[in-house]
């Protein structure tokens, strides 16, 4: 029930926005994210955007592991 998915804002109309992910479009309420902009990724829970999603942070996720880059590179080549 606490599921939320990242979706991209493609249009904003007041407190509502059209969001898209994998070809699926939805209208969501963005009242909790007043400073939303077109192009932002937001986490959508039950018809509401509850927070922004920062894709850049994903790249940092394993920064503490020096082995990470080579492991990811090797697996990406397969």
């Amino acid at each position: 029930m606490c599921l939320a998915y990242p979706m991209k804002i493609i249009e904003i109309n007041g407190n509502h926005a059209s969001v898209e992910a994998d070809g699926i479009k939805r209208d969501v309420n963005i009242e909790f994210l007043k400073n939303s902009r077109i192009g932002d990724f937001v986490m959508v829970h039950a018809g509401f955007a509850i927070e922004k999603f920062n894709p850049d942070k994903v790249k940092d996720i394993l920064e503490g592991f020096k082995e990470y880059k080579s492991a990811y590179r090797k697996s990406s080549k397969k």
């Binding site: 606490c2 007043k34 509401f48 999603f53 996720i61 990811y72």
Partner: protein, 362 residues
């Protein structure tokens, strides 16, 4: 999905698991995954088989449907006896039995029950059907409560007189406090629920770390998130440290979502509330404030409903939600209690431990 390539990467997951093994922790490590979606990820992606045997994941109370008591369903059943009323509910709740029957049973007998995707849909039903009374069954934790608060505010603004909310919203940190005090469980660390944390931020967990000296890691829902968070807990245990870490910082901000929290405070009072399996937990329930009382469905219940014992006396959901037993230890699991014929809520919800064990555990 946006991050699947990285966060479901087998090589990276194995790399982190090797890191966990390299810590060479000898004793059993009991990690509670508070959220049911973490339980789902753990089984769905086969992480249980990858991790060392001494890492025990214990499923916690983070499935809203599972901790909602029979009396809430009984109240909903009472309300749907009135032909003027239409219940609007999330799909998860419809198969959960009260003391006698489920909403699905009632619907088969003609009750007017509508499954909605969003609380906004429930409000839309009220606007489209002024001759009916729409009652939204508000179940969920801090992730969902601001959504209910939002539609209540909108209903008040629109002066709707045919929209009501029956609130069973609960908040997570008080339940974690209860679990920390349970010596039988002996929890070494918590995987904190990512989407609850989106709303409440880091502060409530810092209080738990300070008070109970348990490592806490706010955890995302992809398999790499989970093994990384487990690694962070294990590393803290190895180093003898104890702190809150935010692994899910691509979404969770330290302060949470301030405007969502503000709206919760505007619409709900925090009071003692009952949880299935726990009984009453102090300051753990969200109840509709006096200034929104015209929208409180409790006032439509004109006779007091007593707490009754459920007929499913052999159902062990009350122990499952507290992490006291694993689903296979319940005598009904996979015998009488199945996904098609669930005895208790933990077999109904997609976040319920019993259902997840049933579908993904060998």
């Amino acid at each position: 999905m946006l991050t699947e390539n990285l966060l479901r990467n087998k090589k990276l997951i194995e790399l982190v698991v090797r890191k966990i093994r390299s810590l060479e922790l000898k004793k059993n490590i009991n990690v509670m995954e508070v959220c049911g979606t973490h339980t789902y990820t753990f089984f769905r992606f086969g992480l249980k088989k990858l991790l060392p045997d001494n890492i025990n994941l214990i499923s916690g109370p983070g499935c809203p449907v599972c901790i909602t008591e029979d009396i809430f369903i009984d109240k909903a059943l009472f309300l749907c006896k009135d032909s003027r009323n239409v219940l609007a509910t999330f799909g998860d709740l419809i198969k959960v039995k009260g003391t006698s029957q489920s909403l699905e049973d009632a619907r088969a007998y003609g009750a007017n029950i509508s499954v909605v995707y969003s609380p906004s849909d429930a409000l839309g039903l009220a606007q489209e059907n002024p001759q009916k009374r729409i009652i939204f069954l508000a179940v969920g934790f801090e992730t969902t409560a601001p959504l209910t608060a939002s539609i209540l505010k909108e209903a008040k603004k629109a002066r709707l007189n045919n929209f009501f909310v029956l609130s069973a919203h609960r908040i997570i940190p008080p339940a974690m406090n209860v679990l920390c005090n349970d010596a039988e469980l002996n929890i070494d660390g918590f995987l904190c629920p990512g989407h609850v944390s989106v709303i409440i931020g880091e502060r409530p967990y810092k209080e738990i770390v300070k008070k109970y000296h348990k490592p806490c890691v706010i955890c995302g829902f992809e398999p790499l998130d989970m093994v990384l968070s487990i690694y962070k807990i294990c590393l803290q245990i190895k180093e003898g440290s104890c702190k809150l870490e935010n692994e899910y910082n691509r979404v969770v901000k330290p302060s949470g979502n301030v405007s969502a929290m503000k709206l919760i405070g505007e619409v709900f009072d925090v009071r003692d509330a009952r949880w299935r399996g726990f009984g009453v937990i102090a300051k753990s329930g969200l109840f509709i404030k006096e200034k929104y009382k015209n929208f409180d469905a409790e006032k439509l219940i004109d006779k007091p409903l007593a707490l009754r014992k459920t007929k499913n006396i052999n159902c062990r959901c009350i122990d499952v939600v507290k992490g006291k037993i694993r689903p296979p230890e319940c005598p009904q699991f996979k015998k009488i209690c199945t996904v098609d014929n669930p005895l208790g809520p933990c077999m109904v919800s997609f976040e319920g431990s019993c259902r997840i064990y049933y579908e993904y555990s060998a």
